[in-house]
C-alpha cells in the first residue's frame, strides 16, 4: 500500500456484502484474533482481518480480486474466536458471493440468482421447457421420427435413429420415452458450453486481478504471470482439494468436511457415469436403462446416495448451526443439489416399482435440477469449485506462505 493511498469507500458494496450474509461486518474492531485463529492463513498478510477492514470501508477493489477470500473454507474458527461477534467467516463467504457475481456475465443473470424474487422464473423456464420437450416426445414421437429420418436418415449408414429405446420399449419404463435423449443432449450440450464460456471469460479477468492484487500487497514473489506454470500449480493442488486437506485443518466445523467430501465425490462419480453412458450410447449404441448389475449402475447408485446424504447432512448442519449465517445463496445451491440427488434416486425407485407416471414426474424434476446446476454453475455459489481451485493453484504458484 503506498503512503498516500486514498480509500474510496463504496457504500453500495458494503450494503451488498451485508445483504449476502455479512450483516456483522461493521462490528469488527481490528483486533486480528481471526488472522491467528485461522488454521490456514499464511504468515505473510494473513486473512481475514485485512479483508474485514477492507469490507468495512467498502474497498471493493481490494476484495473482489483478492485470491485470499478463496483460500478460506468457511470453517468458522475465526468466527468462534472473534471477540466482537463480527463473524469474519460469514463475511468472507458473502464477499465470495459478490465476487462470483462480479466476474460472471451476463450480470443480470448473476444478480437474479442471488435474488429470491427471481426464483419462480429461474425454475419456471426450465420446467416449461422440459414439459414442452416431454409433450413432443410422448405425443409426437412418430412425427419426430419422420423428420429425423428425413434429415439424417442416411447418415452413418442409417445407424442413427430418433428413438433410443430398446426393442419393444413401449413396455419398459425408459426415460428416453418421456423426454427424448436427443432433446436432453440438445439442451445440456449447449448449456455446458455456455457455462464453460462464462467461466472462461471470468477466469481471464480473475487471474489477472488476483495476480495484480498479490503483487500490490506483496503476497507473491512472482512479478509476471506465467500461465503454464500456473496451470501446473492448479494441477498440483487437485489432490489436496480431493483429500480436503485444508478443510480438515479447521476446528469449529469439523463435521462439515465429511458431507462436503461426499457431495464432491458424488459429483465426480456422476460425471464419470454421464461420460460413460454417453460413450456407450453414441459409440456403442447401447441405450439405458442399464441392468442393476452393470458396474456403471453401481457407481451411479453409490454416487446418488452419497449426494443425497451429503447434501442432506449439509442442510441439517445449516439448520442447527446457530453460529454460522446461512443466506439465500446457500439455501439456493443446497436445495438444488439435494433436489438433484433425491429426484434422481426417486426416478430410479419409481421405475423399479414400475410406476411409470411417477418415475417420469421425478425425471422431469431431475432434469430441472440438472439444468439449474449447470446453467447457473458460474453464477451460483457452486462456482467456488472453479474459483477456489484456481486461487489455491495461484497460491501455490505465487509461493504464498
Amino acid at each position: 500500500m503506498s503512503a498516500n493511498y486514498i480509500p474510496q469507500p463504496d457504500l453500495g458494496f458494503i450494503a451488498e456484502i451485508k445483504g449476502l450474509g455479512g450483516e456483522t461486518l461493521k462490528k469488527c474492531y481490528q483486533c486480528a484474533t481471526c488472522s491467528v485463529a485461522c488454521p490456514i492463513a499464511p504468515e505473510n498478510s494473513p486473512f481475514p482481518r485485512k479483508e474485514m477492514i477492507a469490507a468495512s470501508w467498502g474497498l471493493k477493489d481490494k476484495l473482489i480480486g483478492n485470491a485470499d477470500i478463496w483460500l478460506c473454507h468457511q470453517c468458522g474458527d475465526c468466527t468462534d474466536m472473534c471477540p466482537r461477534g463480527a463473524a469474519p467467516g460469514d463475511v468472507l463467504a458473502a464477499i465470495r458471493s459478490a465476487a462470483i457475481t462480479e466476474y460472471a456475465t451476463p450480470k443480470a443473470l448473476a444478480k437474479a440468482i442471488n435474488d429470491p424474487s427471481k426464483l419462480p422464473l429461474l425454475l419456471g423456464i426450465p420446467a416449461a421447457w422440459f414439459a414442452l420437450l416431454a409433450i413432443i416426445t410422448t405425443a409426437f414421437g412418430g412425427i419426430m421420427e419422420k423428420i429425423f429420418h428425413a434429415l439424417f436418415g442416411d447418415a452413418l449408414g442409417g445407424r442413427l435413429h430418433w428413438s433410443h429405446a430398446h426393442e419393444g420399449a413401449e413396455h419398459v419404463i425408459a426415460h428416453s420415452n418421456f423426454v427424448s435423449t436427443w432433446f436432453v443432449d440438445m439442451t445440456f450440450v449447449p448449456t455446458a458450453i455456455f457455462a464453460t464460456v462464462v467461466f472462461f471469460l471470468a477466469l481471464k479477468r480473475f487471474i489477472v486481478d488476483i495476480h495484480d492484487n498479490a503483487v500490490l500487497e506483496g503476497k507473491t514473489d512472482k512479478t509476471s504471470l506465467d500461465y503454464k506454470a500456473l496451470l501446473q500449480s492448479v494441477i498440483n493442488v487437485i489432490p489436496m482439494v480431493l483429500k480436503h486437506d485444508k478443510f480438515n485443518q479447521c476446528e469449529a466445523n469439523k463435521d462439515r468436511s465429511t458431507p462436503h467430501m461426499m457431495v464432491l465425490f458424488a459429483f465426480i462419480g456422476l460425471f464419470i457415469v454421464t461420460a460413460v453412458c454417453g460413450i456407450m450410447l453414441y459409440v456403442g449404441g447401447y441405450a439405458g436403462p442399464y441392468p442393476q448389475l452393470n458396474p456403471i449402475k453401481w457407481l451411479a447408485n453409490i454416487a446418488g446416495v452419497s449426494l443425497v446424504i451429503g447434501s442432506g447432512m449439509m442442510i441439517k448442519n445449516r439448520l442447527t448451526n446457530k453460529t454460522q449465517v446461512t443466506a439465500y445463496k446457500d439455501w439456493f445451491i443446497l436445495g438444488i443439489v439435494f433436489a438433484l440427488g433425491l429426484s434422481g434416486m426417486l426416478t430410479e425407485m419409481a421405475r423399479l416399482a414400475e410406476i411409470a407416471w411417477l418415475s417420469y414426474f421425478f425425471y422431469w424434476i431431475h432434469l430441472i435440477a440438472i439444468f439449474e446446476l449447470f446453467a447457473f454453475l458460474p453464477f451460483s455459489k457452486m462456482a467456488h469449485i472453479v474459483y477456489r481451485t484456481v486461487a489455491m493453484g495461484y497460491a501455490d504458484y505465487a509461493n504464498r506462505k
Binding site: 474492531y29 488472522s35 491467528v36 482481518r49 471477540p83
Partner: protein
C-alpha cells in the same frame, strides 16, 4: 467499633464495601455530620488498591492515599466499621431501610498489638489469597501491612492444637475463640454500594493458556510480585524457575472487550500495563517489554503523557494486534505467542520469558448479587436510578474506573445519600 446490634439512629447512611470508593463515601458523609455504617466483607479495609505496588500516573505507593483516609476515619466518631461482615438483605424504602448484616468472628479483640507472637507459633498454613495464592500464610495472620484495623485474624481453618498454642502465645489476652457469628439489623435511610471489582477469571480465556502454563500470569499477580509486601518481596521473577525475565510480553484486553467474556473495556488495564512496564524497567534496565494491544486507551492529558513517556522508552515495544494463541516452549518454560501485527500485516511469533495477561475488572456484584432492590446492567454493574433513589452505587460497583474517577463518583454518591435523608 461495634459488633452487636446498636440502636438504630434515624438518618444514618450505610456504605457496603470498604475499598477506596467506600472509604471516600463514608468519610464524605460522616465529615458533614451523618452517622455512617461501613460494612466490609474482608478483615481489613482498603480493597483492591492495597494489592497494588504503585498508583498510576504519579507512581506513589497506595499507602499515600490510604493512610490519610485511615486517619480521617480514626478521627471521626460518626463512622462505625464492621469488618468480616456482609449484607444479607435490604428491606424498605428510601429514607427507611432495614439492613440485615452478618458478621463472622475474627477471634481477636481490640487488645491486639500486632506483636506477631501468635503467627510464630501457629503451624496451620492456608493459601494467601491476598497474593492470589502465589504463597501460603499462617492461619494466624495480619491481612497486610496496610491493614485497617491493625489487628490479627485467626482463620477458622486453624487446628485445635494451634488454637491452644496461639492463645498461650498471646501476652495481651487478645485471642478469644468463644466469639460467634452474629446477624443483626441496622436501620438506615440510604445505602451506597461500593463493592468494587474482581479480576476476571483468566482461566476462562481458553486461548491465552492461563492456568496451563506457569509463566503466564495476570496483571494483578504482577502487582503482587512487584510489591515489597508480596510473595517475592518485590522481586519480579517468573513462577516456573524464579528466573529474572529478560523478555516480557503483555496481552491487552485479555477477557475484556470480548463478547465471549467481558464485553466492555475495563478502562484501567492499558494504564496498568504501562505502569507495569515502569516496574520492570526499574528492576531490569535491560529487559525488553512488548505490549500487544488493540488500541491503547489512556484517557485524559495525564494518562496520555504517561503513555508518551513509555512510548519514548527504547526497551518498550508496542505491537498493534491482540495475542490470540499461546503455547509453552518445551524444556524452557518460555511462552510462544502468536499475533498479527496489523501495521505490517505480518504474523508475529515471539518467544518470551513471561506473558502477563492484562485482565480486566468484573463487578463483584455480578458474581455475588446483593439482595436489594437494585437495577443492574447486562454486565452486572449497578445502575444508579436517581428517580427511585435511596440505593446507590459508587466506584467499580458502578463502572470500571481508576481511583480518581472512583473517588469523584463516591463523593457524588455521598451527596445523593445525604439528599435522600433530607427530603
Amino acid at each position: 467499633m461495634t459488633t452487636e446490634n446498636s440502636a438504630p439512629v434515624s438518618g444514618s447512611i450505610m456504605v457496603v464495601g470498604g475499598g477506596i470508593s467506600g472509604l471516600t463515601t463514608a468519610l464524605e458523609a460522616a465529615e458533614v455530620g451523618y452517622e455512617v455504617f461501613l460494612i466490609e466483607k474482608e478483615a481489613s479495609l482498603g480493597g483492591r488498591v492495597t494489592q497494588l505496588k504503585h498508583y498510576f500516573p504519579k507512581l506513589c505507593p497506595p499507602t499515600c492515599g490510604l493512610e490519610i483516609n485511615y486517619r480521617r476515619l480514626k478521627d471521626n466518631k460518626n463512622i462505625k466499621v464492621y469488618t468480616l461482615s456482609e449484607v444479607q438483605n435490604v428491606d424498605g424504602t428510601p429514607g427507611d431501610y432495614t439492613v440485615t448484616v452478618k458478621s463472622t468472628p475474627r477471634y481477636v479483640n481490640s487488645n491486639c498489638t500486632c506483636c506477631g507472637e501468635c503467627e510464630k507459633v501457629c503451624e496451620t498454613e492456608i493459601s494467601n489469597e491476598f497474593n492470589f495464592g502465589m504463597n501460603r500464610r499462617k492461619a494466624a495472620y495480619l491481612p497486610h501491612n496496610m491493614a485497617f484495623p491493625q489487628r490479627y485474624v485467626m482463620d477458622s481453618a486453624m487446628g485445635k492444637d494451634d488454637r491452644e498454642k496461639v492463645k498461650e502465645a498471646c501476652k495481651y489476652n487478645a485471642i478469644d475463640f468463644s466469639m460467634e457469628e452474629s446477624t443483626f439489623d441496622l436501620k438506615v435511610g440510604a445505602v451506597v454500594f461500593t463493592t468494587g471489582w474482581q479480576p476476571y477469571d483468566a482461566t476462562r480465556i481458553d486461548n491465552l493458556g492461563f492456568g496451563r502454563y506457569q509463566n503466564i500470569i495476570t496483571n494483578m499477580m504482577l502487582e503482587r510480585l512487584a510489591s515489597s509486601n508480596g510473595p517475592t518481596e518485590g522481586k519480579i521473577i517468573r513462577p516456573s524457575d524464579d528466573k529474572a525475565p529478560e523478555t516480557i510480553a503483555f496481552a491487552q484486553c485479555a477477557g475484556s472487550r470480548d463478547e465471549n467474556h467481558l464485553p466492555y473495556c475495563s478502562y484501567i488495564c492499558c494504564l496498568a500495563s504501562l505502569k507495569h512496564a515502569t516496574y520492570i524497567r526499574a528492576q531490569y534496565p535491560d529487559a525488553k517489554i512488548y505490549i500487544y494491544y488493540i488500541d491503547l486507551r489512556t484517557p485524559g492529558r495525564k494518562y496520555e503523557n504517561f503513555y508518551a513517556k513509555l512510548k519514548a522508552d527504547e526497551n518498550v515495544f508496542f505491537v498493534k494486534g491482540k495475542v490470540a494463541e499461546v503455547s509453552e516452549e518445551s524444556g524452557t518454560g518460555n511462552i510462544n505467542l502468536v499475533a498479527e501485527d496489523t501495521i505490517s500485516g505480518e504474523k508475529i511469533r515471539q518467544t518470551v520469558d513471561m506473558l502477563v495477561l492484562a485482565t480486566g475488572m468484573q463487578p463483584t456484584c455480578a458474581i455475588d448479587k446483593p439482595a436489594a432492590d437494585l437495577t443492574f446492567d447486562d454486565e452486572g454493574f449497578i445502575i444508579n436510578d436517581f428517580s427511585k433513589g435511596g440505593l446507590f452505587a459508587a466506584g467499580c460497583a458502578n463502572k470500571p474506573a481508576d481511583v480518581v474517577t472512583s473517588n469523584q463518583n463516591a463523593t457524588g454518591m455521598a451527596l445523593k445519600a445525604i439528599q435522600t435523608l433530607r427530603r
